[in-house]
Symmetry: C2
Subunit: 422 residues, 2 copies
């Protein structure tokens, strides 16, 4: 047995192993990476009972620690959930490999040809909570894009995560790739998270997944670049030139198709010119779908008895069947409300007016801006990325849904014939 | 007169003004931005004498402070240098505007069309030393790409920078754009730099330009994302299948065409199979061009009397007419040497062998990787960016020469026809 490592030594070891593995993964061919993912899927299914037994330890500890029903549900692994995880790996294996792609190769007056080649980021740190399926999903995306990954799941899921990571590492071994391309931080010591996010010598990017407080803490401590997701306070604006049937359908879908998600609508803005006709019908439709509507003063006049919104409502991500409603004077006022209150995640305009739609698309500064579509489309699968590791509300490197391409970068390549600079 | 602001209050004021200006610049049309740059160019020429007088104050203070000749040269503004600055602005006005560009718009099975729109980053902080021309160049690139900029030049150039910034602000005013799209930190208080790099509420990215110690300090203090440039330890590898005449020409150019720059070659690697034939001729050519060569043990045998390289040489950016030379066993050894010692800036292979060239392109993980070309081509103008604000040795967001596109990001746009998610 070796002596127990300090937190710093543990991080150094993880980091060195990851960096070494990343150097090999960077050049791994597509077949080997895909074989690893398919093999891992098979192992997850083969070892299903062991994984469920490991998960049972976490579930029992969770119950004893008094986790609420929603947290326990997120933590639980069933046979169906494990099969779904395995299917996810198979699907990622089917995506095309972004690594090595050469683009924009042009001749320059000097005679050289200049272009870009897509390459992996290197070592990716994923810090997440509760859901053990992230262990498989996130690792698979990192591997497919040629990276090494250091996973740090929540302590409440440590047994489940260990069992899942073991399948991935075994699959790497079976495909003759370095096992350390997937490493699980096998410690519940929070100090290690602090070391991980400051390990810019080893780690190229940190992707936190979880609640806002986790993400804010990581962003404030990190020295490694972070790709993060904060709030999803999404807006739908119903313009005076909207097809009101379409607007109602989009509003109900954007709020109610799934309420606990970041791309659900939280605030609905309605142009004053159509408010009198539209607001009562809209509130009726939302209520019928199960939503509670909190209205501004002008909309409360149109729907007597409706709950009044307070200032705090405009800045609240409900993640629930609640929506705030505000009547605005015009498109300018809608864009201004969004600039003041949006989390820059996703906003949609409903209008048949060309000029209004183009202005909204250009002037609203969010990661996704839509025209006549439900905000619920802001999603890696819907956008054609095949899978997503999260949705970035940052501005640099990658914005909105992050798929394989977001886990890569580009280098410049130059093809010459002996050219020199004069 | 108002009371003197604290450093925090000064930063808050700068930040709020910049953010407000950025909101307008983001939507400014191309003509207005180009008119601003042309007007600023005209004002620089018109006010040339005032700028030279301001610069004289800096030069005198510099001499009194004992700045060395190289620093004084970087600081000095002459009539020709001011005209060259103005010409730079005219050239940036001629570049095409990246903002608003829509790409990759595709239909998805749901019926929506999904694509990208290019948008400005927002507020850019530039921290730089000595050269007052950066004030004009950097600001112009930020304006053309629709951003607001906060400039913090060196205290040694404060009078020159003020005079140049005044021309830019006047040009913004004359073009009906917000003056605060260009703000100069009009204080030599170093604490303000600390505030600026932590002002993530206002500033979207920091670009430091200057010596390594400045950049390292900023990167370690920053909470705002940083696009930075560290070392340029660039390599040329002469393969066994190289055209040796071509290799000699490239090596001499890569080292000697200009020595004080980041894309100059610092280390030359030569395949053992051609060392005996090539090294003596190469060393003669480099010496004839004025370079001092420091050789490994194997190369010193081939060129009696050559200065011996020490271990430190492989990790040194000379920025001078000095080059280290190492004989390596094969392509693998060359790639390994580069992985161990390169700063991941620019490396070049000289070879006529297809497989060796492709392997080098793929396996060397630097911001520019070249085949049969001088490392001196790693440059925004040579790559066709029109101008560059610097060369990034980071991996995320932008890598290598950074032009207008590197000062922008993308948002997703969705064009629908009433689609909702099912």
């Amino acid at each position: 047995m070796t002596a127990k490592l300090t937190v710093q030594e543990s991080m150094q070891l993880l980091g060195e192993q990851a960096k070494h593995a990343a150097g090999i993964m960077r050049m791994a061919d597509t077949n080997a990476k895909d074989a690893t993912l398919r093999r891992a899927a098979a192992l997850l299914c083969r070892d299903k009972n062991e994984i469920i037994a490991a998960n049972a330890l976490d579930m029992q500890a969770g119950r004893e620690a008094g986790l609420d029903a929603a947290m326990l549900d997120r933590l639980e692994l069933t046979s169906a959930r494990i099969e779904s995880m395995a299917l996810g790996l198979e699907q990622i294996a089917q995506l095309s490999d972004p690594v090595g792609e050469i683009s924009d190769l042009v001749f320059r007056p000097s005679g050289i040809q200049v272009g870009h080649m897509r390459v992996p980021l290197g070592v990716i740190g994923i810090i997440y909570e509760s859901r053990p399926n992230v262990t498989a999903d996130a690792a698979a995306l990192c591997l497919k894009s040629g990276n090494a990954v250091i996973l740090r799941g929540g302590s409440e899921a440590i047994h489940s995560n260990r069992a899942i990571a073991a399948c991935l590492r075994r699959a790497l071994l079976d495909s003759h790739l370095p096992q350390d391309a997937v490493q699980l931080v096998d410690s519940t010591d929070r100090a290690l998270v602090g070391e991980l996010v400051r390990a810019d010598k080893y780690v190229d990017v940190i992707i936190p997944r979880g609640g806002k407080s986790l993400i804010e803490r990581i962003a404030s401590e990190a020295r490694v670049p972070v790709i993060k997701h904060l709030d999803g306070i999404c807006h739908v604006y119903v313009d005076r030139a909207a097809d009101l049937e379409m607007a109602k359908t989009i509003a109900v879908n954007a709020k109610m198709q799934r309420t606990g998600v970041c791309n659900a609508m939280e605030t609905l803005l309605v142009h004053a010119a159509v408010a009198e006709e539209f607001v009562p019908a809209l509130v009726a439709a939302l209520s019928a779908a199960g939503a509670t509507v909190r209205g501004c003063a002008r909309s409360c006049v149109l729907v007597p008895g409706m709950q009044a919104a307070t200032d705090a409502d405009w800045d609240t991500e409900y993640l629930d069947a609640i929506v705030s409603l505000r009547v605005v004077d015009d498109l300018d006022a809608a864009i201004e409300h969004i600039a003041d209150h949006s989390s820059a995640h996703t906003e949609s305009i409903v209008t048949a007016d060309y000029a209004a739609g183009l202005r909204f698309l250009r002037e609203v500064d969010s990661s996704s801006v839509m025209w006549n579509a439900s905000t619920r489309f802001a999603d890696g699968f819907e956008y054609g990325l095949g899978a997503e590791i999260g949705i970035s509300t940052d501005r640099l490197h990658v914005r909105g849904p992050v798929g394989l391409e977001g886990l890569t970068t580009q280098k410049w390549i130059v093809l010459g014939h002996g050219e020199v600079r004069s």
